[in-house]
Every structure is written in C-alpha cells, then in structure tokens.
C-alpha cells in the first residue's frame, strides 16, 4: 500500500472545509496523490505529486510562526475562568 494515510491528518486541520486556503490546497493534493496510487500511475507522476505536497506544506509552515499553545492544565483552566469572570474585574477587586 503506497497511499497517504489520512486518518491522522485531520488533527492538522487538513480537510476541504479548512479555513486556511493553503491547507485546503494541501488536502486536494493529498487526494490527488491517493487517486494516482489507485490507478497505478507512473512513478514520475507520483514523485511530482509528492513534490507538490512538500512545496505546499513548506508554504504553510513558513506562512506564520508556530503560535504558543494555550494553557490546558488545571491551572490554565482556573486562570481562564478567573480572568474572564466578573471576579477579576477592577470593580470586583476594589474594596467596598
């Protein structure tokens, strides 16, 4: 089997419904490669398709720096609740 396994790619937001145009293009290119695999095309065509995927992926990773992940631990959740709640507002913090 030489097709690209797409099960794990959903996590990378690779879908035709993605908001990002580069990711949508990448999804189409992966589908194209897998279609080439099904019809047993020439290796040169498959290399060309793999090359296109690589170039589009490179365009994606150079489009913006990796953003810091939001805190998801218990402290992170607590902080989120605190910072968004009314208790954190200056009025609530002010002494009566």
């Amino acid at each position: 089997m030489t097709a690209i396994a797409t099960q794990n790619l959903a996590r990378a937001e690779l879908s035709t419904a993605s908001k990002n145009a580069i990711l949508r293009k990448l999804t189409r290119q992966v589908a194209l490669y897998n279609a080439l695999d099904r019809i047993r095309s020439l290796p040169a065509q498959r290399f060309h398709a793999l090359d296109d995927i690589m170039k589009t992926a490179s365009a994606y990773v150079t489009s913006k720096p990796p953003q810091p992940k939001p805190k998801t631990g218990s402290f992170g959740r607590l902080w989120k609740i605190f910072s968004t709640s009314a208790a954190a507002s200056p009025a609530a913090l002010a002494e009566p």
């Binding site: 690209i4 290796p43 040169a44 290399f47 090359d51 690589m54 992926a57 490179s58 720096p65 953003q67």
Partner: protein, 253 residues
C-alpha cells in the same frame, strides 16, 4: 504536518527515489540545514543560512505576535550578508532551462562515460568540499540520466541539476579517462540511504562492476565493488582502504 511529510519521505523511498532532505523535520530546531527552505526560496539562498534564519523566526516574539511570514522576516534580499564577496545563492537549473543539464550530463558509450563535448569524462580538475581534489558531485535523476560537476560551496550543490526535485541517487564520483572508479553516497541535500544506492546500482547496468561504491556515508571505511554489491547487496565483501588508494590513481598521488 510532520506526519504527512514523514509519509511523503517514506513513499518517495518506496518508489525508489529521495526528496530533498529536511521536509520531514520542519520544526527541528537543532537542524541548521534546511534544504527544503532553499528549494522553495525564490532566490534559492543557501540552506544553512535560511536554517539559521528559520530558527530565529520561530523564536522571535514580534514575529509570533504579528504572525509575520518567514519570507517577510528573512527579507527579499538575495544576499544574506553572511560572507563578504560570497552571495550564497545556489544556481538552480530552472525547469525551462536545459543548458546546465546539457553541459553537466554524462553519457554512457561503450562502457565509459563522456561529457557533452564527447570527450571521456575526467574528474581530475574538479574538487568537492568533503573529499577534495579529483572528485565531482553526482546526481541520477528519475529518468536514469546522470549529472556530474564540480562542487562549489554556496553556489553549486547536488540540488542544481534537478532544481531540487526528487532523485534516484546522489553522491560523489571519481572518474578517470571515462572510467568510473569510485562512487560515494555523500550528499547533504539528499542524504541517500544505502538501500537507495543499492537500488540505483541494480538499475544502472552500465555502471562498471569493478568500480568501488560507498553506499553508507555514516560507515566511511566500508566500500564494495559495484558488481559484487549489485549481486549480493550488503552481504558483498567489503574492500579495504588500501585497495581504494591503489584503485584510484588520483587518490594515490
């Protein structure tokens, strides 16, 4: 994204070729050599230079906050300003330009290799950064054509012949009067695996059986005779370094 690119790298190898190195290590901050960046850069600036800039970019607070693209961060200048008098711009052969390929292609005739002027190919006047005088860099494309030329750091690397596209083999070569003497798998741009070099040796029947091949760059002392390597793979009898120097006149000097 890394998973996808890992898969692409594996698939390319299973198809008997290799993509330019680095695409499956996009976030690897330890690696300075980002040849995939060199390939997609419109100016084809040297991978080492772009790799350093990439490392700085992913850590740059301002770039993260403003979501600045890498190419905007790196600037549009073709010159990176690393070395005085050196532009560090790789001379990629554009897809619509065949002149570089024409002048660097080596052709087989009667068991020997010839250059574009139909003279027996000789690497005596060439040199490579790693192996020194008497060596040239070598690439075999997907159609089986072979290209060889002098290695010039920051200007002419393995990626120029095919504009960074996939290849079936890459490395270095010693050729004397049209007879190939030694082939190695030394290519930082493509990092060909030993299995890929074996595959290529089997698919290139004109490669002389008495030539020596070093299919694994990480095992420098282990060379094989091409004929033996083609038949028995990694079970072939290794050749010692004494045989190598006696085999190659240029190296004996």
């Amino acid at each position: 994204m890394e998973d996808l690119l890992d898969q692409c790298g594996r698939l390319a190898r299973s198809l008997g070729g290799t993509l330019i190195s680095g695409p499956n290590r996009l976030r690897d901050l330890k690696s300075d050599r980002a040849y995939w960046l060199e390939r997609v850069d419109p100016h084809h600036r040297l991978g080492e230079v772009l790799g350093q800039l990439y490392r700085a970019w992913v850590r740059n607070r301002r770039a993260i906050q403003t979501k600045q693209s890498f190419w905007s961060f790196a600037g549009e200048d073709a010159v990176c300003g690393i070395g005085p008098g050196v532009d560090y711009q790789i001379h990629y052969c554009a897809a619509n330009r065949t002149d570089v390929r024409k002048y660097t292609e080596v052709k087989w005739k009667n068991g020997k290799v010839y250059d574009y002027l139909d003279d027996p190919y000789c690497t005596e006047v060439f040199s490579t950064h790693w192996s020194g005088n008497g060596w040239a860099i070598l690439v075999a494309d997907l159609q089986g054509r072979m290209y060889a030329y002098e290695h010039v750091v920051g200007e002419r690397h393995h990626s120029i012949f095919t504009s960074g596209a996939a290849v079936t083999a890459a490395g270095e070569l010693v050729c004397e009067n049209g007879a190939i003497r030694v082939i190695t798998a030394k290519s930082g741009h493509y990092k060909p695996s030993p299995a890929l070099m074996l595959n290529w040796a089997r698919r290139a029947p004109l490669l002389p059986g008495d030539a020596l091949i070093l299919p694994d760059w990480t095992r420098l002392g282990v060379l094989y005779r091409v004929g033996d390597f083609r038949r028995r793979g990694f079970d072939a009898a290794p050749v010692d370094l004494k045989t190598l120097t006696s085999h190659v006149q240029a190296l004996a000097k």
